[in-house]
């Protein structure tokens, strides 16, 4: 073996170095092939030399060595050149010639003839020059001109070949077309830049994580939101960027996602740069490579804080709405009546005592309507079916036999396929109905008590009323006896006393009759009555009192006063109360006549008004309304019941009672009632 042959063996080392020092920028595969080929050639060479050795013709081998080199070099599927130790082009393979489209001679002029792109030339020459001196391998990325004039990027690697003495014998230069690669790289960088632009312009936070969960990238919005640099955000598990309450769940879910590779979604609170936590919806999806392995997790976080807070508000509002429904015993419903589809709120189920969530049908409702209310219920349903808004009030008898009054309203919100859709609310008004009944009962009791009390407050004047004639009777009788017992009996005188006695007896009897009528407790007894007559009776009853009080009574009764339907005794009670009050108000009036006016008149066509006007001490406007309060009195010794009871009587007749100060002295009290009270619920007259 000669010195020339031996280097081929040392090629193995070179090849190894070559292989290991090859850049893996995608040229790996091609270069690997080159290296592979070289090792094959070295193996072939070995075999060849063995053959030659066997033939014993070293000399024959030597001249063949040159051509062998070129044979080898030419058979490498890549661009290969060799340089002299001084750096001059010695050989280029066919591929080079094909690529450059020139001759070997032209190739030797590479430094000057534009083979290398002018912009890259200086650097190339410089690097090569340095390597020639240092003997170190070099690598240059430069553009080399193709036969058609187009420059393409190449990676040029120069490797020295040393002789057995250590000196460089030649340089092997491998040129690898990395143009596509470079363009791809540039495109990638471009697109990466573009991606970054896109990613930074997404209205959301983007976080990219490595398959093991480490944060690799956070977009601009994310960095701005968290107010932390990427390095710190890598410690999201511990640095408070995620709300502590949400952290355990997040970690758990993410771990599961990494393990399963499935996209995930959750809601989590992130801490803003100012320390405030905001709700985010986080969507994570994996990015896989060609082989299906997860390369990266992309996590998009969208700020849903406002929505979340609104949701909470809504939930709270709904809860308090539900509470409000429960407290007010109001239930709501949405109903397609024709389709018999009922959507009930919880409270509605509760009112009807149906199991919540069960199907509601019209039949089910019908079944518990109180028998007496069934006709009016059916007519209400019929009205609703034809598309009208309805109000209703009916009784139900629940499963546990409780009777409940249900009042409600249903309103058509829209028509769907000709079927009216109702939204409505109903209320269990049993308590208030019962309370009203009880109240009415109590009122009538009170009215009775008031009558009695008023009368017992009148005890002075009642006793007065009766005792006066009684006293007269006894005195007259005594006088009569004396007159008859005298020496000369005074017959005329006796006759006179007897006459007075009879008259006083009748007077007493009248008083008792009138008072008895006043005392009797009656239920609210409706009858058709003439208020003129009723008022006259009251005046007759009060006449003696009024005269005693030196009250001047004036009455104006309307001629055409229509009859009203009402309770005679109760209304007379009211008139009596007003008359007495008027009289009392003038008790201390001395400087002017004590004028009392009682008037009846028709009002507004279907109402009747009774007015009692006095010239007494009057009432100031502030106290006007207080007058009607129970137990409010301006009279010492008064119980203050009269006006409040009177008002309630008038109001039960669906009328109103009010007071006004006069222009002059005194006040005017009036009440007006409709001719017919309108029937109240259940189509019945108001009862006690």
């Amino acid at each position: 073996m000669t010195e020339d042959a031996a280097p081929f063996e040392s090629h193995a080392d070179d090849l190894a170095r070559l292989r290991s020092s090859v850049n893996d920028l995608g040229g790996r595969t091609a270069l690997e092939r080159v290296v592979q080929r070289l090792s094959e050639l070295v193996a072939d060479n070995k075999a060849l030399r063995k053959q030659l050795a066997e033939r014993g013709s070293a000399e024959e081998a030597r001249p063949g060595l040159e051509s062998q080199s070129s044979l080898i070099v030419n058979s490498i599927p890549g661009l290969v050149a060799t340089l002299t130790p001084a750096g001059e082009v010695e050989l280029v393979n066919d591929q080079v010639l094909q690529y450059c489209g020139g001759t070997l001679r032209e190739m030797r002029q590479w430094a000057t003839n534009g083979t290398v792109h002018p912009e890259d030339l200086a650097h190339a020459v410089d690097v090569i020059g340095q390597s020639m001196m240092s003997g170190d391998p070099y690598e240059i990325i430069e553009r080399i001109r193709r036969f058609d004039g187009v420059y393409r990027w190449f990676q040029v690697r120069g490797l020295p070949l040393r002789g057995s003495s250590g000196g460089i014998v030649r340089w092997y230069v491998l040129l690898t077309d990395i143009d596509d690669l470079k363009r791809a790289q540039d495109a990638l960088r471009e697109s990466e830049h573009e991606s970054r632009l896109i990613v930074d312009s997404i209205p959301g936070l983007v976080v990219a994580l490595a398959p093991d969960g480490e944060v690799e990238f956070v977009n601009r919005q994310g960095l701005e939101f968290f107010g932390q640099p990427l390095e710190e955000l890598k410690h999201w598990g511990t640095n408070g960027a995620i709300h502590p309450e949400d952290l355990p769940r997040l970690i758990e879910d993410f771990t599961r996602a990494i393990a399963s590779g499935c996209p995930f979604e959750w809601e989590v609170r992130g801490r803003r740069f100012d320390g405030v936590y905001r709700w985010f919806q986080s969507r994570g999806f994996p990015l896989r490579d060609a082989s299906g392995r997860i390369v990266r997790w992309y996590n998009l976080l969208v700020d849903i804080d406002e929505r979340k807070r609104a949701e909470e508000e809504l939930r709270r509002a709904y809860d308090s709405f539900a509470d409000a429904q429960r407290l007010s015993k109001t239930g709501s419903f949405i109903t397609d009546l024709v389709g018999d589809d009922h959507n009930w709120s919880e409270e509605t189920y509760r009112i009807f005592e149906f199991q919540p969530g069960t199907k509601v049908t019209l039949q089910r409702i019908r079944a518990i309507i109180h028998p007496d209310d069934q006709p009016s219920f059916e007519s209400m349903i019929a009205r609703a079916m034809s598309g009208g808004d309805v109000t209703f009030l009916f009784r139900i008898v629940t499963a546990r036999a409780a009777v409940k009054h249900v009042r409600g309203i249903a309103h058509v919100i829209e028509q769907i396929e000709g079927r009216p859709m109702f939204v409505g609310a109903l209320q269990d008004v049993t308590e208030s109905m019962e309370a009203e009944e009880a109240l009415n009962k109590a009122r009538s009791e009170l009215a009775h008590v008031a009558r009695v009390t008023t009368v017992s407050a009148l005890t002075a004047s009642i006793a007065h009323e009766i005792n006066q004639p009684l006293s007269g009777i006894i005195t007259n009788a005594g006088t009569c006896l004396r007159m008859l017992a005298a020496d000369s009996p005074d017959i005329d005188g006796a006759r006179e006393t007897a006459r007075r006695t009879i008259r006083d007896g009748n007077r007493a009897s009248d008083v008792i009759t009138r008072l008895r009528a006043l005392f009797s407790k009656k239920e609210f007894a409706l009858e058709s009555l003439d208020l003129n007559d009723a008022t006259r009776e009251v005046i007759a009853l009060s006449l003696s009192d009024l005269q005693r009080q030196r009250v001047v009574l004036q009455s104006e009764f309307a001629d055409d006063l229509p009859k009203v339907t009402g309770d005679r005794v109760q209304l007379q009670q009211v008139i009596l109360n007003l008359v007495r009050n008027a009289s009392d108000a003038m008790m201390d009036v001395d400087d002017r006549p004590r004028q009392l006016l009682v008037r009846t008149e028709r009002e507004n066509g279907d109402r009747v008004r009774v007015t009692v006007r006095d010239s007494g001490i009057g009432v100031d406007r502030q106290s006007m309304d207080k007058l009607f309060d129970a137990f409010y009195t301006t009279k010492s010794g008064g119980m203050g019941i009269g006006l409040s009871v009177s008002r309630s009587i008038v109001e039960r007749h669906q009328g109103r009672l009010w007071a006004e100060p006069n222009d002059g002295p005194g006040a005017t009290f009036s009440f007006s009632i409709p001719l017919e009270p309108i029937p109240r619920s259940h189509g019945q007259w108001p009862t006690d």
Partner: protein, 126 residues
């Protein structure tokens, strides 16, 4: 009952007509002169004020009441004995009226015996 041969004047002040009608006859039968007034004010304004030997006085009257009249007479230093009569059945008024110097307080209807006894008491009060 008769003083100096002249019938003593008993004035009846009561707003009730039947009292004013019936009492004078009884009083005259008993030997008194009688005058009636329907109000305390009327009495005060009359000449009977000076001549009245005894007053039969209703308690409750519109305007000046019986006790008011009693106060007024005290104020004017007219010492006229008073027999109160009343149709009200409230007995608690009697002690107070007597404490203020009334001769008697009678409740209607009263017997003539009671009335005459009261008058005697009153006249003895000079």
């Amino acid at each position: 009952m008769e003083v100096m041969g002249q019938q003593p004047l008993v004035s009846v002040v009561d707003d009730d007509e039947s009292v004013r009608e019936s009492l004078p006859d009884l009083l005259r039968q008993c030997g008194f002169a009688a005058q009636t007034f329907s109000s305390a004010e009327a009495f005060l304004a009359s000449e009977a004020l000076d001549e009245t030997r005894c007053l039969i006085l209703d308690i409750a009257m519109p305007g000046m009441s019986g006790p008011d009249l009693q106060q007024e007479l005290i104020r004017r230093r007219h010492r006229i004995p008073i027999v109160f009569i009343t149709a009200h059945s409230d007995e608690s008024v009697r002690p107070e009226l007597l404490a203020r110097g009334a001769a008697e307080c009678l409740f209607k209807p009263f017997s003539e015996t009671a009335l005459i006894d009261a008058l005697n008491t009153a006249l003895r009060m000079r």
